[in-house]
Symmetry: C2
Subunit: 445 residues, 2 copies
């Protein structure tokens, strides 16, 4: 049996009762975080452009768009919701492959689940199936795939979306195999587009493409038997070096969803330990920006950190996400690094800009990517230092359920009335008892 067939068999044969409780719980965390991120991103400017384009194309009203009072076709809903959930760079991340696992998979899944009135348990099972497939596929092609310029979330993600959708529809192993193949033949995402509106199109397209793949396979639309490992398949086309073994290693035993990471801050994960340190110093010592003579940081020298270190004075909110100096400054001034810290206005704030100019960083090969040493040098001569061994949100220092819910509430509260914010949180934490996903989806749109 080839690896694509093994994956298809795993997907088609996964049941809720197979799942360890930790995987079930993590799936709920993924969903709650996803809803918050999608609500947070739902009013971003490029979303309006995408929405207007798709509305002109039209579609059967089958599924909702998060944070918008519209319904559209399954594939357009998946595309839009995939876009929303990534546009703020606030979505969950597997740090070993920089895959954002939920953004391409959940939108495909909730669109189908809403149309069919699927149960919470079926949603959880299908989501875990998709997660395990895409996470292994990402591991199989990382790092050469990513280094060649691919945005892994839009490539491995399409296969994950197809897997999840296939499980929710209860496709047999043969049709699941076809769905994985049709998903694999439609990768999206060149990293050249980072910093433009096109970046978030990658998980959006992955969600829509994976879903279309599954809808076709359900009808008997055929595809290759060995779409991943075949001589002209995904692995060879997509990676100079691929690890075939990792695709099925521990399948059904080791649930990679239990290694998922969440972002407390609305920027790339490599900034996070520095922000952690800045916030810690601010809160522990009650530092105010006027007291600070310099912020000194020791961080990892691994890519892309040198680029972020070489961006000391960004002038746009988007560029601020890619500046260690800006991240440290807002951590110290604001004590948070939410979307509001990455607006054009906040980046141009004189106090923040002044603090950025007092930022000094040295990069070291012995410091890990999720680690940082942060020192505030005060004008009175004191040196206040903190070592962050593991950034908040990583597997070794996870965000608690309470922290994750607070993040969700921060984003949801700006988009929905309080009673809906509460109801969604309640429904998600009790997802295994939800009879019909429409009860949840009806509250986020």
């Amino acid at each position: 049996m080839g690896v694509t067939q093994e994956l298809a068999s795993f997907v088609a044969g996964l049941y809720y009762d197979d799942l360890p409780p930790a995987a079930v719980h993590e799936a709920k965390r993924c969903l709650l975080d996803w809803i918050g991120n999608a609500l947070g991103g739902s009013r971003d400017e490029p979303v309006d452009l995408l929405l207007a384009t798709l509305e002109e194309l039209g579609g059967t009203p089958q599924a909702s768009v998060v944070g918008r009072s519209i319904r559209t076709s399954l594939t357009h809903a998946a595309l839009l919701n995939g876009y929303l959930s990534h546009v703020l760079d606030f979505d969950d991340t597997l740090t070993d492959t920089v895959l954002h696992p939920t953004s391409p998979v959940m939108p495909a899944l909730v669109a189908l689940a809403e149309r069919d009135g699927a149960s919470g348990r079926d949603l959880i099972t299908a989501f875990v199936a998709g997660f395990e497939v895409e996470a292994r596929l990402a591991q199989a092609i990382f790092p050469s795939h990513y280094e060649a310029g691919w945005h892994i979330t839009g490539t491995a993600g399409a296969v994950g979306a197809a897997a999840a959708a296939s499980r929710l529809l209860g496709l047999d192993p043969q049709r699941t195999l076809w769905a994985l193949g049709i998903g694999a033949t439609q990768p999206t995402g060149l990293r050249e587009h980072f910093g433009t509106m096109t970046k978030a199109l990658h998980p959006g397209r992955a969600a829509g493409n994976g879903l279309l793949a599954t809808l076709l396979a359900q009808r008997g639309f055929t595809a290759a038997e060995a779409s991943l490992e075949g001589p002209n398949g995904f692995l060879r086309a997509m990676a100079a070096e691929a690890d075939l073994g990792v695709l099925t290693r521990g399948l059904g035993q080791d649930y990679l969803i239990c290694t998922n990471g969440y972002k407390p801050y609305a920027c790339g994960v490599v900034n996070h330990p520095i922000i952690d340190g800045a916030i810690h110093l601010r809160n522990t010592y009650g530092i105010s920006p006027e007291q600070v003579d310099a912020i000194e940081v020791r961080a990892s020298d691994r890519p892309p950190i040198p680029q972020l270190a070489a961006n000391p004075d960004p002038q746009t909110g988007l560029s601020g996400k890619f500046s260690l100096a800006h991240c440290a400054a807002v951590g110290l001034v604001d004590g948070v690094a939410l979307p509001a810290q990455f607006t054009d206005a906040r980046v141009r704030d004189p106090q923040v800009a002044a603090l950025r100019r007092r930022f000094r960083v040295t990069l070291h090969p012995t410091v890990r990517e999720t680690e940082a040493y942060v020192t505030a040098v005060l004008k009175d001569g004191r040196r206040l230092e903190v070592h962050i061994p593991h950034a908040t949100g990583t597997q070794a220092n996870p965000m608690s359920d309470a922290a994750l819910e607070a993040k969700y509430r921060g984003q949801a509260g700006a988009a929905l009335p309080p009673e809906q914010v509460d109801a969604i949180a309640r429904l998600v934490w009790d997802l295994e008892t939800l009879a019909d996903l429409r009860d949840l989806a009806g509250r986020w749109s």
Copy 2:
């Protein structure tokens, strides 16, 4: 100015009066051949599956589907028409890159042209713009891209579709640049799917993705400035070796559309010189199958010919397209190699199968891919030989307008009433005088 910008400037600045008459004429040949191929493919089984899936998703009725009396959204029409036009493996080919240039571009273009009532001249200009971009992009990444497993028609094709659509909508160079980039980030097509229903999805998706790219760019949706040549751009992700210079070489001077090839036979071009030879022997000497003791062929040894040589007794119509023996046999028995020669029934015909068993092939490095030596050894001892230096339909031995129209009529005649078949041919040959593409599109659906 980077190469992507140069391409965008070329596209945005191309006018009908710039085009040499040969390029205009070739665009008409592309269109006529495309309509025939799309009509020929319009009733294939996988088309029904794709159509049913898309109809459930729904869409604003903006454009027609060839050979079907339905209208759907621009992007669904592009996807469907892209599928139709490739499903019989009968579409035009640039032999140097095996790009099928018209199948991804024309569907995007006619959908827009139908919505907007564009003129024939504008259609021609936009088509040439798209053709020149995709053909150069294919040259830049061939052969390493193709050898890695990519179906170049679905990858370079999406960028060509975006270019053509951008020209038809009159986008400025900046928005055209974004459209090219959004097209480039959505490649479709692993060759692993050859021989399955998914193969023709590649030009279909390329057409739809390129069109969506343009619709987004038109609204101001931003993308990278150097989406092709940038460090994380298309060329690096898609090819182990890319030739940057070829992307803009001779742009606006050498029209690659004038090198386009057309298929007289409904199978891969590498079979064509053998079929030419078999038909020649049959017609010149009045050979009947019972007279034949053996068919001996000398052909090129370049991939994929060895695989086609190693398939002496196919059992399905699709597999027959990938068998030199079957192609030679139907050439000798039927004197044609149309879709009817690649059905399951024809492949299983006892007379054809018996002749396949009398097929002998030797492969030589000195024989070109478009060349073959074909000998009929008769039971009476005679050896009748023919050398085909250039297969019919290649640049050195082009199909005449009359031959192309006969091919069109063969396919169109099975799908449309005679007066519509005539009217379409007349409108296409006089395309530069057509005021509104709806007069043409109204006759093919």
